[in-house]
């Protein structure tokens, strides 16, 4: 069991991080203190807005400097570190077994046409090859803050209240499989994809071997990691329209497909045939933050971030959506939303396997 919450201001108003922390704290009954995490979009709005902001956790041991040098070597192979510093943390709340570091980074011009693939390569290389370092976020103008601890502890540790973002996702963890460690907390991030997930993926073995065929490496010991990679593969690399890509994760049932008109039936059959390895099985409720440039079914290309929520096809996990003015919320429980927004215009339960998609107002 875990608890998730996400919200976005469709007017892209900056909202302080303490709000998401309060909401997540009210979900802590769903976690067991073995991990909490936050991701904020829009938190680096000024000088480093167009840099990749790598948040990297490095073991707090005597080997620290050596590991840091190895990390920097990988980064410098493909571009320039514009600025780097320790992510400011508060002492005395969580034992600092890893030191969070951030690098503001630009990819070298000569890789301009495959910049994002290079960043993915960098992340895979650091996670796979460097012992003692792992990347927790690699997007532009966003950052993941996660550790082993209760929601309020992690929020205080990273001083979340000092950041402002137009979209926040958060997660309180109750691990189902592996031992708790900082890298196993959610959100899982790759480029501007961030995923928080409640549930357990029974198809993980299949999903992992599917994405590994395309060069992704699952090294963070948690099934949720694979969701971020599947989304990146389908929507960024293969450019599948959003609604169809999400339908690959939670496909229509065959008996529904059989009843569809011919063109739709062929389409949904093709999705299941080509992307059977991307289907997520097992209970899940996910909230996702996305990069720019996603293509929609009606040809729209969204030039900005979007947020969506999705559950498994037979609704084994709770998910509630709500809106008030420009704010849109997705959460495991309604009370978490009302904790920070007591008055809501509309509250609804999305259908199983059908996404809730939030896009900024134009």
């Amino acid at each position: 069991m875990c608890g998730i919450i996400g919200f976005m201001s469709r007017k892209k108003r900056m909202i302080k991080g303490d709000k998401i922390a309060i909401a997540l704290d009210s979900l802590k009954e769903r976690g067991n203190g073995k991990g909490s995490g936050y991701v904020g979009y829009g938190i680096y709005p000024t000088k480093y807005k167009d840099c990749y902001a790598f948040h990297i956790l490095i073991d707090n041991t005597p080997k620290f400097e050596k590991i840091k040098v190895e990390v920097e070597n990988v980064l410098e192979q493909y571009g320039t570190i514009v600025k780097d510093e320790e992510i400011p943390t508060e002492d005395g709340i969580i034992e600092k077994i890893h030191i969070p570091w951030r690098y503001f980074y630009e990819v070298d011009e000569k890789y301009a046409d495959r910049e994002e693939d290079v960043v993915v390569d960098i992340v895979m290389e650091i996670n796979d090859k460097i012992d003692g370092a792992f990347v927790i976020s690699s997007g532009k103008d966003l950052g993941v803050f996660k550790a082993v601890g209760w929601p309020d502890e992690v929020a205080k540790f990273y001083r979340i209240d000092k950041y402002g973002g137009y979209m926040w996702l958060a997660h309180a963890r109750y691990p189902t499989n592996t031992k708790a460690w900082w890298g196993g907390a959610h959100p899982f991030n790759l480029l501007n994809w961030s995923v928080v997930h409640n549930g357990e993926i029974t198809s993980y073995g299949t999903n992992r071997r599917f994405v590994e065929m395309f060069g992704y490496k699952c090294r963070l010991l948690t099934d949720t990691e694979v969701v971020a990679y599947i989304l990146d593969l389908l929507m960024r690399k293969h450019k599948i329209p959003v609604e169809y890509a999400l339908s690959a994760l939670a496909p229509r049932f065959w008996d529904e497909i059989d009843k569809m008109p011919e063109e739709e039936r062929e389409l949904h059959t093709a999705i299941r045939l080509a992307y059977g390895g991307a289907m997520l099985n097992g209970p899940f409720a996910i909230a996702v933050g996305t990069p720019h440039g996603l293509i929609f079914m009606n040809g729209d290309i969204e030039n900005d971030t979007t947020m969506f929520g999705l559950t498994d096809r037979i609704k084994l996990r709770p998910l509630i959506a709500a809106e008030k003015d420009d704010m849109i919320f997705i959460s495991s429980e309604e009370s978490a939303i009302r904790k920070i927004c007591p008055d809501l215009d509309r509250v609804w339960m999305p259908d199983a396997g059908m996404p809730v998609i939030a896009r900024p107002w134009k």
Binding site: S335, M349, A352
Partner: protein
């Protein structure tokens, strides 16, 4: 003291529930407990047995509201989260809003009235015995898997919105899947392919109408619905869904004795 008010703002559920029990211990005559500013506190009313007790909740109660409860009446002025009435034995729960997944899970007696919608797998494993017949009445809609594994009791879905207008075609799938006792009554038409396994559409008779009438009337009373709406509900086309047999899967197994 017959009426007590508790402000539950920022109160953890353990503290809140302990307060409720404390009141019941110290004031055996209390008839009504009012909870204000409830936001997500779970397990309210769990295991309570006092029949002449009403708990009014203002806000959003958390999961498992009234679980194992056997007697009191709980009125919620707001939405409920998952599993209100879970394994409830007796009493009444009235929700002036919607409730989440597995509402009335394993219910064994008593009544639940939800003004709005209920989530997935509501009424799952409801059971009945002799005079203990649980009832779930849903004002709006239920999501898929309604009445899964149902072994007894009645589920009534009214299919109306906040104003009492028809909501249109009922959309649920896998209705009554695995049902082997009890019945589901839905106001409106249902296609056979919306049913789950072991469920069948049976004839809705006068007897059925007499059976569900008192529950519809009680629903209208709780939510102040007009005579017009009540009459519309009673005079609509109803679909009755009931088991094909008591042992729908009896033929599936063979003894390992060949």
């Amino acid at each position: 003291m017959e009426e007590v008010v508790i402000d539950a703002k920022d109160m953890h559920y353990r503290e809140l529930n302990e307060k409720i029990h404390q009141i019941l211990r110290e004031n055996p005559d209390v008839k009504k407990i009012i909870l204000k500013n409830v936001l997500g506190q779970r397990f309210i009313g769990n295991g309570l047995q006092k029949k002449d007790l009403t708990i009014e909740i203002y806000g959003i109660p958390g999961g498992d509201l009234g679980m194992f409860m056997s007697g009191p009446t709980i009125i919620v002025y707001g939405n409920a989260e998952f599993a209100p009435g879970n394994t409830m034995d007796d009493g009444t729960i009235v929700i002036h809003g919607s409730s989440g997944d597995v509402t009335a899970h394993s219910m064994r007696g008593g009544k639940i009235f939800v003004r709005g919608d209920v989530g997935y797998r509501s009424g799952i494993h409801m059971k009945a015995y002799k005079d203990k017949v649980p009832v779930l009445v849903v004002g709006g809609r239920a999501k898929d898997f309604l009445g899964e594994y149902m072994a007894g009791g009645n589920i009534i879905v009214l299919n109306i919105d906040e104003k009492g207008n028809d909501l249109g075609k009922v959309k649920g799938r896998m209705i009554g899947t695995g049902i082997h006792g009890g019945a589901i009554y839905i106001r409106g038409e249902i296609d056979k392919d919306q049913l789950g396994v072991a469920a069948d559409i049976k004839e809705f008779t006068e007897e059925d109408l007499e059976k569900i009438k008192p529950y519809i009337e009680e629903f209208c009373k709780w939510f102040n619905l007009s005579e017009d709406v009540k009459n519309k509900l009673l005079n609509s086309k109803w679909t009755k869904i009931a088991p094909i047999s008591k042992r729908p899967f009896g033929k599936l197994y063979t003894p390992d004795l060949m």
